[in-house]
């Protein structure tokens, strides 16, 4: 099958991400990878929970003293919304509407960048207001590693979207790149899933005690 075959919105297959064998493999392989990532983040969560509030002495700030819930709440909203916008993008991908897909992906990227900006601000705040750094305590190491790993995933997700957008800006959709867009959006949803737990376990439960 010719990969760069041109389609119309009517000839475009129903599940373009799974029409070719390569696409099918990519789709499945990526899901499996997400299964592995689940365990990866679980290990990080577990480590964080074991080290939460473990500090060398009393002068060090604890979770309850620091976390800025309203700020984190806004971040959560941003990321949740970006998850929806990427669903929109996939909706248009399946309808073979490249322009709209691009637009929604761009919005997704924008929301992701905003999230990242808040996160950087947040970290900066903890470091300066509370001397809560990566090296100041085991608590700090655990916190920044867990949340930072998530942040790194956001960065990678954004980079991936941007790369795909640039690369394919001229050539439109075809069966070669459709699976790529699809898989990237799966990744983005997964990042959101992880964040739901970070918000709940680290921030909300951290504030309660």
């Amino acid at each position: 099958m010719d990969m760069e075959q041109k389609f119309t919105s009517k000839t475009w297959p129903e599940s373009p991400e799974k029409t070719t064998l390569e696409g099918k493999n990519k789709f499945l392989g990526f899901w499996l990878f997400l299964g592995g990532e689940t365990v990866l983040f679980a290990s990080l969560f577990a480590t964080y929970l074991a080290l939460k509030d473990r500090v060398p002495d009393n002068s060090h700030a604890l979770a309850q003293d620091m976390f800025e819930l309203p700020l984190v709440f806004i971040m959560t909203m941003l990321l949740l919304t970006s998850s929806l916008t990427s669903v929109y993008a996939m909706y248009h991908m399946k309808n073979y509407n490249f322009k709209k897909m691009q637009t929604w992906l761009l919005i997704t990227v924008g929301l992701g960048l905003a999230f990242l900006g808040f996160e950087i601000y947040e970290f900066n705040h903890y470091v300066h207001a509370f001397d809560h750094t990566f090296t100041s305590s085991a608590f700090g190491s655990g916190f920044y590693t867990l949340v930072g790993f998530h942040g790194a995933h956001v960065v990678i997700g954004l980079g991936w979207f941007i790369l795909l957008l640039i690369r394919n800006s001229r050539r439109g959709l075809n069966l070669y790149n459709a699976p790529k867009f699809f898989v990237a959006s799966l990744y983005w949803h997964f990042i959101d899933v992880v964040w739901v737990f970070i918000f709940t376990v680290v921030y909300l439960m951290g504030m309660v005690g």
């Binding site: 099918k24 499945l28 290990s43 074991a50 500090v55 990566f134 090296t135």
Partner: protein, 592 residues
């Protein structure tokens, strides 16, 4: 091979009491590297090599699902291994045991542990990739008619082992990251004065470590299953029970890791739960053992070299397995733990299981992979030398352990009743080494003589791989075969056919291009690892911080990320092997 050499040094050092063949620090480096190399750089990759060569053939696929990732996995693993071994030349190898327990590994001076952490991180990424690749291959690429319950057992065990890789390697990755951050970036995960906790490392390591031993043994079980069926001329007894047992072992493998930590002081409740869970694994493993024996029962057994290994495997592995169950008796493990009893246990299961499996697989699949037969007489010589040596070396170690010999000791002092046992053990190791030398000789003369063989050189082949040429053409199957049941080739043979019924007409075959990028990506990480390591001053043996380190770290990462970007920017549609060429291949007599 390097791992084997290290083992010989260990045994020479321990041959006599109070020996000074190697120094204390060097001994710890050797023993760490022996364990690490054998597990990560010998046993696992060799098994992967068989999986790679055999699994696509067994399920009737043209290739693995992701050829690109396949080569990426290989190069990552390759550079990880090189990096780890460079430690010998760059200021000292890791010296905290293959388990690298946190308090000692943080206290360890020089860069040894850094080599361990970064090397395993890189090669571990390669392993994870390989695991995903096999899973997708097996799920998506089976030939028409090849249902899950018709897959050969080696494919099944590859499947389960790959699933274990998928879930077991992430905890190791995290553990290594934590150690990396602690050692190289000032984090405090394992520093108890800063609130850290070393037990976290132990858990993460063993959550990985225990499934890891099943990652090693399951494919070996798979190889043996093929061999028993082939050389008994009989269908595998209780096939579906075998499949179920394989899956169950994989599943239980995740619930028992604390049996390595009975003496840590986790409390009687945890110890009791994990003790019982561990013992439970004896049941599915027993099912397999009995099914193998019943496969031979009523069959027509031919004692070829691979079959000899398979036959020797049963008592050897059962002996190792039952000592495993003894170790699972938590209260008694307080006595066994960290003694030579444990060393004896795991060499019995690893050598009696995994290494015998590798050696059996080598003889069994050599003709398929290279088109020549290893010499059977020499093969049998290797077998006997290795087997006798193996029992001689490790049987006595059970008693050494119970007589009070801890493991990982550089020397033992005289007059503690440990001399005789150790001497015997060392003699045994020389037998094994001799066996391996004969094998190497065998391989060399076989390749020099280069006598080609046909597609089913053992005459009793049952599964798809024996239906095509040895070695197979690079596109494996010209036409995908139609699978009509378990042991498809056997079915066709019994009906008097000499080849598989094709499931498709001859057509063009789509093949991927070879790519240079995986190599560059792995190289980038390799370079970055040096940067990460040398940017810390307080560890360096000469106390220096290297100005070039950070830039090197950055450059390395850029190379990797850059080549990833190139990969996704450059379209790679592969190429086609045309129908006409395929037919020409055929006429030239590539087949049968």
């Amino acid at each position: 091979m390097v791992g084997g050499l290290e083992a010989m040094v260990i045994r020479i050092q321990l041959a006599v009491p109070d020996s000074n063949f190697v120094s204390a620090g060097l001994y710890n480096e050797i023993l760490t590297m022996h364990g690490t190399t054998m597990i990560f750089l010998a046993a696992m990759p060799l098994l992967f090599a068989f999986m790679n060569a055999v699994v696509p053939l067994q399920i009737g696929a043209r290739d693995v699902a992701f050829p690109f990732l396949n080569s990426l996995g290989f190069w990552l693993f390759f550079f990880g291994g090189i990096f780890l071994n460079l430690s010998w030349f760059l200021g000292g190898a890791p010296d905290a045991g293959w388990t690298s327990y946190a308090s000692l590994s943080l206290a360890s001076e020089g860069h040894g542990i850094d080599f361990y952490v970064l090397g395993l991180q890189i090669s571990g990424a390669g392993t994870l990739i390989a695991g995903i690749n096999f899973l997708v291959t097996i799920i998506n690429m089976r030939a028409p008619g090849m249902t899950y319950m018709r897959m050969p057992l080696f494919t099944w065990s590859t499947f389960v082992a790959s699933a274990l890789i998928l879930f077991a390697f992430p905890p190791l990755t995290v553990g290594l990251f934590l150690m990396l951050f602690d050692r190289m970036f000032g984090a405090n995960f394992f520093d108890h004065t800063m609130g850290g906790n070393t037990i976290i490392w132990e858990h993460l390591f063993w959550i990985f470590g225990h499934p890891e031993v099943y990652i090693l043994i399951l494919p070996a079980f798979g190889i043996f299953s093929e061999i028993f069926a082939t050389f008994s001329r009989k269908r595998l007894f209780g096939y579906s029970a075998m499949v179920f047992a394989t899956v169950l072992i994989g599943f239980l493998g995740f619930m028992v890791w604390v049996h390595h930590m009975f003496t840590v002081g986790l409390g009687p409740t945890a110890n009791a739960i994990f003790a019982v869970a561990t013992m439970a694994i004896a049941v599915p493993t027993g099912v397999k053992i009995f099914n193998w024996m019943l496969t031979m029962w009523g069959g027509s057994i031919k004692f070829t070299t691979p079959m000899l290994y398979a036959v020797a495997f049963i008592p050897s592995f059962v002996a190792g397995g039952v000592t495993g169950v003894m170790l699972a008796v938590a209260a008694a493990d307080y006595q066994y733990h960290d003694t030579y009893f444990v060393v004896a246990h795991f060499h019995y299961v690893i050598i009696g299981g995994v290494v015998l499996g590798l050696l059996a697989g080598t003889h069994f699949y050599w003709p398929k992979m290279f088109g020549t037969m290893l010499n059977e007489t020499l093969g049998k010589v290797t077998f006997w030398l290795f087997l006798i040596g193996f029992h001689l070396t490790f049987f006595i170690q059970h008693f050494l352990g119970l007589m009070g010999m801890p493991r990982r000791i550089w020397k033992y002092l005289p007059n503690q009743g440990l001399e005789v046992g150790n001497a015997i053990s060392t003699v045994g190791a020389f037998f094994m080494a001799a066996g391996v030398l004969v094998l190497i000789y065998n391989i060399i003369i076989t390749q020099v003589r280069n006598e080609r063989v046909g597609n089913d050189p053992w005459g009793d082949g049952r599964t798809l791989e024996w239906a095509i040429a040895s070695p197979p053409p690079f596109y494996n199957f010209k036409q995908l075969p139609l699978v009509r049941g378990l042991d498809p080739y056997w079915i066709e043979k019994m009906e008097g056919n000499d080849r598989m019924t094709p499931a498709e007409p001859i057509g063009d075959i789509h093949m991927p291009n070879n790519s240079f990028i995986p190599f560059v990506m792995s190289l980038g990480l390799f370079i970055a690892a040096f940067g990460a390591m040398y940017q810390v001053d307080w560890r360096a043996s000469d106390g220096a911080e290297y100005g070039w380190a950070i830039p090197v770290l950055v450059i390395g990462m850029l190379i990797t990320i850059g080549s990833m970007a190139v990969r996704s920017l450059k379209d790679d549609h592969g190429y086609h092997v045309h129908k006409e060429d395929l037919e020409k291949d055929d006429e030239e007599g590539g087949r049968l």
